[in-house]
């Protein structure tokens, strides 16, 4: 365990040192990440300002969902999302071999060597919007609701990790395809809005087959006391989704040929 923590810390140290070589660019990127994530709250705000709304949801409830998404992203992305870019480049160059000969789990090493501090802006933006939304909602949130939120939030991180494994795993075969990001961005957009705007069939799809709703909707629903019994099935699906994505990653790793592309 101590060995694993040491590897992680040295990965963070190296990542920070290399990123700080271009400090100006780093600060701009941090701001860009934050502004980019504020895009969806801005669109929501413009929709509500035009007099329209999502039926049954007020502005601050929708902002709360989007804030949870940003926080989940702001926590998970610095720690493991960078592995998609890392694997994309290393497989394309054929230098992933160097990762394979390290004396530790290849998956763990791929994660810890991909630390990217840039995404931390999402976390701070998300927390700010969360506070703003809660202050305007003026609802009392019980301790149970906060605990439910934390549990579901942990599953949100698990879903994001699962997507990262699927995306990076794909790149062992689909060499150099930087468009996997677009696929994830498109899929995850469904988690930014209340589940009830989708058709029943689609709600079932994003809750019980590909648990996208767990990324932000369910944790936010816990704070708003809007959880339904379906969340228990969704939790089970999240665990299965993670196991499948992990197995998929190792299966795809076998396709690595060292040839680049």
């Amino acid at each position: 365990m101590i060995h694993a923590i040491k590897i992680f810390l040295s990965g963070v140290k190296v990542a920070l040192a290399s990123r700080m070589a271009y400090r100006g660019d780093f600060i701009i990127r941090l701001i860009v990440m934050l502004i980019g994530d504020l895009l969806f709250p801005m669109i929501t705000l413009l929709i509500y300002q035009s007099g329209a709304s999502f039926p049954g949801w007020n502005l601050y409830e929708v902002l709360l969902i989007q804030a949870v998404f940003m926080i989940a992203k702001g926590i998970s992305f610095p720690f493991f999302y960078g592995m998609v870019y890392n694997i994309l480049n290393k497989v394309r160059e054929g230098t992933f071999d160097l990762m394979l000969i390290k004396p530790c789990s290849i998956l763990y090493f791929s994660v810890v060597s991909s630390f990217n501090i840039e995404y931390i802006g999402s976390f701070f933006g998300g927390v700010t919007i969360l506070i703003y939304a809660l202050a305007n909602l003026q609802i009392g949130i019980s301790l149970i609701s906060w605990m439910n939120f934390l549990v579901l939030f942990a599953f949100s991180i698990l879903v994001l990790l699962s997507f990262t494994l699927i995306m990076s795993g794909t790149l062992f075969k689909w060499v150099g395809n930087s468009r996997v990001y677009e696929i994830f961005n498109a899929i995850s957009t469904f988690s930014l809005y209340p589940n009830t705007i989708y058709s029943k069939a689609f709600q079932n799809l994003i809750s019980y087959i590909i648990p996208i709703a767990m990324i932000a909707f369910y944790p936010a629903a816990a704070l708003l006391n809007r959880l339904n019994s379906g969340v228990f099935y969704s939790i089970i699906v999240c665990c299965l989704f993670f196991l499948i994505s992990r197995a998929f990653w190792y299966m795809m790793l076998k396709n690595y040929t060292s040839a680049g592309g």
């Binding site: 660019d25 413009l46 677009e182 009830t196 058709s199």
Partner: protein, 266 residues
């Protein structure tokens, strides 16, 4: 010049055809984004016929056309140029008997020709068949002209961003921030008429709306922004003037920037 454009465009077409599966991602991503918009706006329009002058059908048409036009005008000239400058590989272009801007523009033509076949046409069919959205231009000639000017504008804006690489060692950050503003203020995410009126008036004078918003409105057949209304001929004329101004700006930046190039990379 035409021979150069044809030669480079064809070479780029063949080069990218080797990565056609990358482009086919659009077949999944485009309709998926549209599906999100479909659900969002179908829900928002519950009990309302018009929002900011758009009916539900017009709003879905707006997003459908925006998606397709973006396949026409998509561009990576800025990224490419700053990469060449940063790595020092740009030196090879200094020795070629052709301007880099023309070379990059020809590359874009080749790349988008492939995009037309592998992205635009299939996604158009998906929109028509799966979503029952019929995207027919109000006036085909004005639409083609406006999309072509949007194509030029997108290239020139991106190219100017790329030129900043002569001054900045790494332009990833500045490029990302401009690209983000470009997409927001080009009306890619939401029609510009949703913005506050004062901002709409400011946006009229920025180059971004001429990339996507104007071609989309020309496609639909009417134009308005910030309380201003123009005929299609007038707004396409203004778009052409902005393209010429952007061309001059890129030339000016180029002449200043090229003096900074040392050829050693960074």
């Amino acid at each position: 010049m035409l021979r150069t454009i044809k030669g480079v465009a064809f070479a780029t077409y063949k080069e990218w055809a080797a990565y056609r599966s990358h482009m086919l991602v659009s077949l999944f991503v485009g309709p998926l984004y549209f599906l999100v918009q479909y659900y969002i706006w179908s829900s928002v329009y519950t009990g309302q016929d018009l929002i900011n002058g758009f009916s539900l059908i017009q709003m879905l048409t707006y997003y459908g056309i925006t998606t397709l036009i973006n396949y026409c005008i998509m561009d990576f000239a800025g990224w490419n140029l700053q990469m060449l400058i940063r790595t020092g590989r740009f030196i090879t272009f200094m020795l070629r008997p052709v301007s880099h801007r023309l070379f990059a523009f020809s590359q874009k033509i080749g790349h988008r020709m492939l995009g037309f076949c592998l992205e635009l046409l299939p996604v158009y069919l998906v929109f028509t068949i799966a979503f029952d959205i019929h995207l027919i231009p109000a006036n085909i000639l004005w639409s083609i002209l406006s999309i072509f000017l949007g194509f030029m504008m997108m290239f020139l804006v991106n190219y100017c961003i790329g030129i900043t690489g002569f001054w900045l060692t790494r332009t990833d950050g500045i490029r990302s921030i401009i690209l983000l503003f470009r997409n927001v203020f080009a009306g890619v995410f939401i029609p510009l008429t949703f913005f506050p009126e004062l901002l709409q008036k400011i946006l009229f004078f920025l180059p971004f709306q001429y990339i996507s918003y104007v071609p989309v409105r020309v496609f639909i057949g009417d134009y308005q922004l910030g309380g201003m209304e123009f005929t299609i001929a007038q707004i396409v004329g203004i778009q052409a003037i902005y393209v010429i101004m952007m061309l001059l700006l890129s030339e000016l930046m180029w002449r200043k920037g090229i003096k900074k190039f040392t050829g050693v990379g960074a």
